[in-house]
């Protein structure tokens, strides 16, 4: 058993004091310590991307991101998207296009799409293809594409 460490995490603009196992991945700090369960566990090996979050604006897979390395940085999860202009636009587009089915992967999808639109405000299909690497077992992919385009205002 590794040692406990203490640090402060800034998640969606709020500071959370954390005392936890030194190697604890950010995913489990968010879910079990901070209590924000929107970020999902799907594979634990960065394959499915359901655990995607933004750390200082960078798209990270939180299942394989040592939480203590996020101390002093700004973590954004799906729960924080509504105060982000791009994120909230995507959330609205997701409702308009009726994207989610089971919805389990959609937190990761929305975080990835937010990151995409911050890099490519008017993404091409190729940009979307390359960037949106998340797994959705329900097969919402065509609606995800439409949602991104709607939020970005591109045809």
């Amino acid at each position: 058993m590794s040692e406990n460490v203490s640090y402060t995490l800034n998640v969606n603009g709020q500071n959370h004091p954390v005392t936890a196992d030194s190697g604890l991945p950010l995913l489990w700090v968010l879910r079990d310590v901070v209590g924000l369960t929107g970020t999902k566990y799907g594979c634990g090996i960065t394959q499915c991307k359901a655990c995607s979050v933004l750390v200082d604006g960078v798209l990270e897979r939180s299942c394989d991101f040592d939480a203590k390395n996020a101390a002093g940085k700004k973590v954004v999860t799906v729960e924080g998207l509504e105060t982000d202009p791009v994120g909230s636009r995507l959330q609205k587009a997701w409702v308009d296009e009726q994207v989610p089915q089971c919805g389990y992967c959609q937190s990761g999808m929305l975080i990835a799409a937010t990151s995409l639109l911050k890099k490519f405000p008017r993404p091409s299909d190729e940009n979307i293809n390359e960037y949106m690497d998340n797994i959705c077992a329900c097969g919402t992919y065509n609606r995800v594409r439409k949602g991104i385009k709607r939020a970005a205002g591109v045809a």
Binding site: Q47, E79, W94, Q98
Partner: protein, 721 residues
């Protein structure tokens, strides 16, 4: 979430029950009553069948409607309230939804149990919900009529308001009085021509909370004082626990028979880490080593040859004789592998076991089974068991099973009074599934001089979902497992000479219901072989199918429409081709044309055209979403999906070894819904089976040769899990 269980049920007459009360400032109205035999017959219910709906009319004039079956993405948590709201005469914008916990009152009338599966959500509940929604509306009208001392016939209900001349009252104002009235036994239903909501693409009620992270799946359940558990599962099929090492400090270890649970107060991650490093020895079952893909394939081939014992699922005319007398005779053997469900949310459940009560929070398709499991684990009676249904991060048939719920209950029982959330790792999930059965199928067919199909004989060798659950009924030598042959004994074609045989394979891989079940492989077998027969007889695949549809007008319309929408008769450039497949299952008929580009050795799907006749729709956009979903799942399975075994060990453990399609691989999907007016058909599953054969049939035109084994592009098999 408001607890409906805190409300008491009151018997208001010999056969009628009503639940009512003040909940968080809102009046709750629950009806649970026997419908009249005449009404029951008209609605397709058994006489005396109980109908229930829980409607809560809130002070802000929103109406909360309880969705009786599980929401795993298929959209019934909206479609079922949509049916109630139609009859209740409320605006969709005022409707809220709540997922039902376990209650006999919420049993699906088709199953007589609260189970979600078989594409029965809308089909099963539709009639009952309409009757109940209408009854609730009539009670609100009756309350208004009483208040105003007028006849109910002078009152009109619309948009959540009852009016009579200049008088009007909102449902919120009437709910308390309505809750005290006896429910009517013969409520008048809204006429189809006056539907405002049914058949309309209203926005789903579950989507807003699925885009802001607030939707609670099983894995998200947080109960005060909760501990976290993970499991170390038997690495091989059939193994049981031998010896268990000492629990790490501060943790509890629970022997679950074929797994060991580790409980910690801290986090799921720490439980997972502790479970991984816990020393456990395992004892093989006698059959463990034989659970091996190579050995099982050899055994299935032997069973195919011996056909011993054969069980006949269908026989019409004299198929062997007709084939024997044909100008051309074809024989081909097809096969599909075991398939994991790979739901995005791994198995998990939360349980609290105390001396006098038990509570379960689960992402389950099987509330009825959760109650029974809790009773068997705890010894408590049903009225001491409470089951809360969460959202399901995918179900696909996997969450009908109760193995993970039982584990959570057994673990919680070891720490009485402490709620325990037990979560599987992705590795646990892949390697402890109830897999779609592998199946081997030999087809024999005859073609006459004009290219007509003269007869079809198919023999399927496969493990039996039914036998693994209840072997007793198979003592009868004529008994067969319909899930092993469905798709072959239910062809849309009117074949004069057909024989469907099944040979049970007693391989020990746990098998279960995978989206579309037996249709997922049998439609692949039948529809690919039909294209082989068409090629032998030099017939166009659409034209040949059409000639065989006889009086099946629905299927013919579906086939004609998919041919037209896909541009079947328009030529494609070189290196491109189309393939077609048709199926009828779950009460719906689906035709698909897959367009591909590629070569003899490689293929890419460029477009899928789908036509579905599901009778009529509640929400056409949900139907489209389910078609999109079924097509992409079927495609991924056809291209890459399998679970190989080596000496008892399932070899694929995570998404790096099991490929699901990605966004960039999703082809455009063009969908046409035909509302034929036939009885409501299922929607969640029927669009899956045709996609694999349509793909293979298209590829054959690019010179692929016969591709009779799925997946088409097997992924590298890990040496060991």
């Amino acid at each position: 979430m408001t607890s409906l269980e805190s409300i008491t049920e009151r018997q208001i007459s010999r056969k009628r029950f009503i639940t009512s009360g003040l909940v968080g400032g809102a009046f709750l109205l629950g009806l649970d009553f026997a419908v009249s035999p005449r009404k029951a017959a008209a609605a397709g219910l058994a006489a005396g069948g109980r109908v229930s709906v829980y409607v809560r009319i809130n002070p802000d004039e929103t109406v909360t409607i309880v969705a009786p079956n599980s929401e795993m993405g298929q959209g019934t948590s909206s479609a079922l309230p949509q049916i109630v709201a139609e009859e209740l005469m409320v605006d969709w914008s005022r409707v809220r939804m709540e997922l039902a916990g376990a209650s006999a009152a919420f049993a699906n009338p088709l199953f007589r149990a609260q189970v979600t599966g078989g594409s029965t959500g809308v089909r099963g509940y539709h009639n009952a919900l309409r009757v109940a929604g209408a009854a609730a509306r009539e009670m609100l009208v009756a309350a208004a009529a009483q208040r105003w001392s007028v006849s109910p016939s002078t009152c009109t209900a619309a948009n959540g308001v009852v009016t009579a001349g200049a008088l009007s009252a909102t449902y919120g104002e009437l709910a308390a009085a309505a809750a005290l009235l006896p429910p009517p036994t013969n409520p008048a239903l809204v006429e189809r021509s006056k539907f405002r909501l049914i058949g309309t693409a209203v926005p789903r009620l579950d989507i807003p909370e699925k885009v802001n992270g607030k939707a609670v799946y099983g894995i998200d359940v947080r109960v005060p004082g909760m501990a976290y558990a993970a499991v170390k599962m038997a690495p091989k099929v059939g193994q049981t626990v031998g010896t268990v090492g000492r629990a790490p400090s501060g943790m509890t270890v629970v022997n679950l028979g074929n797994a060991v649970a580790v409980v910690t107060p801290t986090t799921t991650w720490q439980a997972v880490k502790a479970a991984r490093s816990l020393p456990v020895t395992w004892v093989d079952a006698p059959t463990t080593a034989a659970t091996d893909t190579a050995l099982m394939a050899a055994n299935a081939a032997t069973l195919m040859e011996s056909g011993s014992p054969v069980r006949v699922a269908l026989t019409t005319g004299d198929a062997p004789g007709a084939i024997g007398a044909s100008a051309q005779k074809l024989t081909a053997t097809y096969s599909v592998p075991y398939l994991p469900h790979a739901t995005m949310e791994p198995m998990n459940a939360t349980a609290l076991v105390a001396a006098d009560r038990c509570e379960v929070w689960a992402p389950t398709q099987n509330q009825a089974g959760c109650v029974a499991t809790a009773m068997s684990v705890t010894g408590l009676p049903a009225d001491k068991v409470t089951v809360h249904t969460t959202f399901l991060g995918g179900g696909l048939g996997r969450k009908v099973e109760l193995d993970y719920v039982r584990q959570a209950l057994l673990t919680a029982k070891a720490v009485p009074g402490t709620p325990v959330k037990l979560t599987w790792s992705r590795e646990d999930d892949f390697t402890h599934d109830f897999y779609r059965p592998a199946a081997l199928c030999r087809l024999q067919g005859g073609v006459d001089a004009a290219g007509n199909v003269t007869g079809l004989v198919s023999r399927v060798v496969s493990p039996s979902i039914g036998y693994q659950r209840g072997p007793a009924r198979f003592a009868d030598p004529t008994a067969f497992d319909s899930s092993a042959v469905e798709g072959l004994n239910t062809l849309p074609y009117g074949l004069a000479n057909q024989r469907v045989e099944w040979v049970r394979d007693d391989a020990q891989v746990p098998v279960g219901y995978w989206r579309s079940v037996g249709n997922s492989h049998n439609v692949f077998f039948a529809e690919c072989f039909l294209d082989e027969l068409a090629a032998a007889g030099k017939r166009d695949p659409v034209e040949l199918r059409r000639s065989m549809l006889g009086s099946n007008l629905r299927a013919r319309t579906v086939l004609d429409t998919v041919a037209q929408k896909s541009g079947w008769s328009s030529p494609l450039g070189s290196g491109r081709a189309r393939g077609v497949a048709l199926c009828q299952c779950f009460g719906s008929i689906v035709g698909e044309v897959v367009e591909v580009s590629g070569s003899a050795s490689n293929v890419r799907v460029t477009k899928v055209t789908v036509v579905i006749d599901c009778g009529s729709t509640i929400n056409p956009d949900t139907v489209r979403a389910q078609v999109e979903s079924a097509v992409l799942q079927g495609l991924a399975a056809a291209l890459w999906g399998d679970m190989p075994f080596k000496a008892g060990q399932p070899l694929r453990t995570n998404f790096n070894q099991f490929r699901l399609g990605k966004l960039k691989e999703a082809p455009p999907i063009d969908i046409t819904i035909i509302e034929s007016g036939a009885p409501l058909g299922g929607v969640g599953e029927p669009a899956l089976p045709p996609v694999a054969p349509a793909l293979v049939n298209a590829w054959a035109k690019l010179g692929s040769g016969p591709r009779r084994t799925l997946p088409l592009f097997p992924q590298a098999v890990p040496a060991t899990a």
